[in-house]
């Protein structure tokens, strides 16, 4: 067994460094700039039940230690996704590297997206990810991150509907996130993936207006890594399901730190914007680390800071 091999429930990945949804395109867009074979997996840009045009510009701006952005889940909907986008993703990534991220307004919409994906590509993907995290949707998805009952119902329905591993990605910025995670963990979900981006704002001094067309948007980048660390730390104590951390990871040291706090794998997001080849660099750093530390497996580090 390779020392970086990572198990998230029934899913097995070549390493614990994952391209986070919304920050990695559909994999194929990155092929020219990075070595995709070095990714543990890529969570593709979320596909929603209905096509979404996305939010009005401007959509991104730099803030200290990261960016503020408001994309608005822009995507062409399931028909184009399944017909045109998936074949390109399949040509760029291996079966064990593809996680399909879906979102809807109701449990039924999530389930139908999972079913359509699995009917067509079930034997060619590693998992589906239920995106209950995107902070830009005014109704629907936020609900499945903050209502424990709705979250459990959603995950249980998706798990019952498809054979592939199911990840639950949720926003930990609600006070009851541990209660929500606990409820979801009772469904036998394969992994709980955190999104920790708090909402923020930036104002243009010259125009005297908010810089974002949507006025507000989530803040991501290294600035929020300590927030993500605490959330993973607390989640590790609350649930025994494999956890995937995200929030500001951009070096191999960040990945190790998240693992020590309790993460089994780490999603790399906005760090890929300035450095599209950063994931292979992180993975090389992890390989050198296990060699240096003479570890049989990185997994022995998961939650080690609690002991």
């Amino acid at each position: 067994m390779s020392s970086l091999e990572t198990k998230l429930g029934r899913a097995i990945f070549r390493n614990p460094v994952l391209g986070a949804s919304g920050c990695t395109g559909h994999g194929y867009e990155m092929a020219e700039y990075t070595d995709l074979s070095r990714y543990g997996a890529v969570s593709l840009k979320t596909v929603t039940y209905h096509a979404r045009p996305g939010n009005p510009p401007e959509r991104v701006n730099e803030v200290p230690g990261g960016i503020i952005s408001s994309i608005g889940l822009q995507n062409p909907g399931p028909d184009v996704f399944l017909e045109e986008i998936m074949p390109k993703a399949l040509s760029a990534l291996d079966r064990d590297q593809i996680v399909v991220s879906v979102a809807g307004d109701t449990v039924e919409e999530y389930v139908e997206l999972c079913q359509r994906t699995v009917e067509r590509y079930g034997d060619r993907i590693a998992a589906v990810e239920l995106n209950a995290a995107c902070p830009n949707v005014n109704h629907g998805t936020g609900y499945f991150s903050r209502d424990a009952h709705a979250a459990r119902e959603l995950v249980a329905a998706a798990k019952g509907a498809v054979e592939v591993p199911v990840f639950y990605k949720f926003n930990t910025n609600f006070e009851n996130y541990l209660e929500v995670a606990t409820a979801v963990s009772e469904t036998g979900v394969d992994a709980i993936y955190t999104s920790n981006t708090p909402m923020g704002m930036k104002i243009d001094l010259r125009k005297k207006r908010p810089v974002l067309g949507n006025v507000v948007g989530p803040v991501c980048g290294p600035a929020i890594r300590p927030i993500g660390m605490l959330r993973i730390w607390n989640l590790y104590q609350a649930v025994s399901v494999p956890l995937v951390a995200s929030g500001g990871a951009r070096t191999w040291e960040d990945v190790i730190e998240y693992m020590l706090a309790g993460a089994a794998a780490v999603g790399v997001g906005s760090a890929q914007f300035p450095h599209p080849d950063i994931v292979p660099q992180i993975v090389s750093g992890l390989e050198a680390y296990v060699e240096r530390e003479k570890l049989d497996s990185l997994s022995v580090l998961v939650g080690a800071a609690h002991r």
């Binding site: 991104v60 701006n61 599209p276």
Partner: protein
């Protein structure tokens, strides 16, 4: 990839020209494309800075004309020759023009002059007659950065009201128009050229995070046969046909 800074030269109080040696990039760059520049160690900026290619010899050297607008570009002004700079590019789709040479008009608003210089070089080399309409808000000495000044027919428009007037004159028997600058100016150029049925391309600008089409941050509203939709300035542009760009209406 790494590009070595060969020289830098201050053009105006707030504009600096940086010349780099980087055959890998210079050999590929086309007019209208841009690069993403990392500000490097010692700088706390998270993102690269997208900057259009100002000039290029097609073999080893390219240059960037950079306006100092914030801390990142301020830091660049301290760069010494010999510095190795991490650049990504060339990125995006550049300008396109007919094979048969004719008469063209370039319209640059302020630092929007930057991507038009390399374009002028290529058009002149292919036998085009090139007219330049420059609309400086303050710094008309920005024109000093132009290497082909003598070969161009240059007109300046001092203000917003004057620009359409001069543009009308320059459009006489023009085959195509290329413009870059503030959106208000681009809208005027788009409207004027469309009324006259002269093909026009606009180099658009948005804040960008990645520059390679993965973040969907640099959205621009564009008319397509299927209706109004968002496209990416970094990957689908930054150059768009004038009739494609929706200046006000959003999807």
């Amino acid at each position: 990839m790494m590009a070595r800074l060969v020289r830098s030269c201050q053009i105006t109080a707030r504009d600096t020209l940086y010349e780099f040696d980087c055959p890998e990039l210079a050999g590929k760059a086309r007019p209208g494309q841009f690069v993403e520049v990392a500000l490097g160690e010692g700088d706390s900026s998270f993102l690269r800075r997208p900057i259009s290619v100002f000039d290029c010899d097609g073999e080893s050297r390219f240059s960037l004309l950079v306006r100092t607008v914030g801390r990142g570009t301020q830091r660049m002004t301290g760069w010494e020759p010999g510095r190795e700079v991490d650049v990504l590019g060339p990125l995006g789709n550049g300008f396109r023009w007919p094979e048969r040479a004719g008469v063209c008009v370039l319209v640059g608003g302020g630092i929007g002059l930057a991507p038009l210089t390399y374009l002028a070089r290529r058009l002149l080399a292919e036998g085009w007659k090139v007219r330049l309409l420059f609309s400086p808000r303050r710094e008309d000495e920005l024109l000093n950065a132009l290497p082909q000044r003598e070969e161009l027919e240059i007109r300046c428009a001092e203000n917003r009201a004057h620009l359409p007037e001069v543009l009308e004159e320059l459009l006489a028997n023009a085959d195509c128009v290329f413009a870059c600058g503030p959106e208000g100016m681009l809208e005027t150029v788009a409207r004027t050229t469309m009324e006259r049925g002269i093909p026009c391309q606009l180099s658009m600008e948005r804040h960008m995070a990645c520059g390679i089409g993965i973040c969907l941050g640099c959205a621009i509203a564009v008319h397509t046969p299927e209706g109004l939709t968002y496209k990416k300035v970094c990957k689908d542009g930054p150059v768009f046909r004038a009739e494609e760009v929706s200046f006000h209406e959003q999807p």
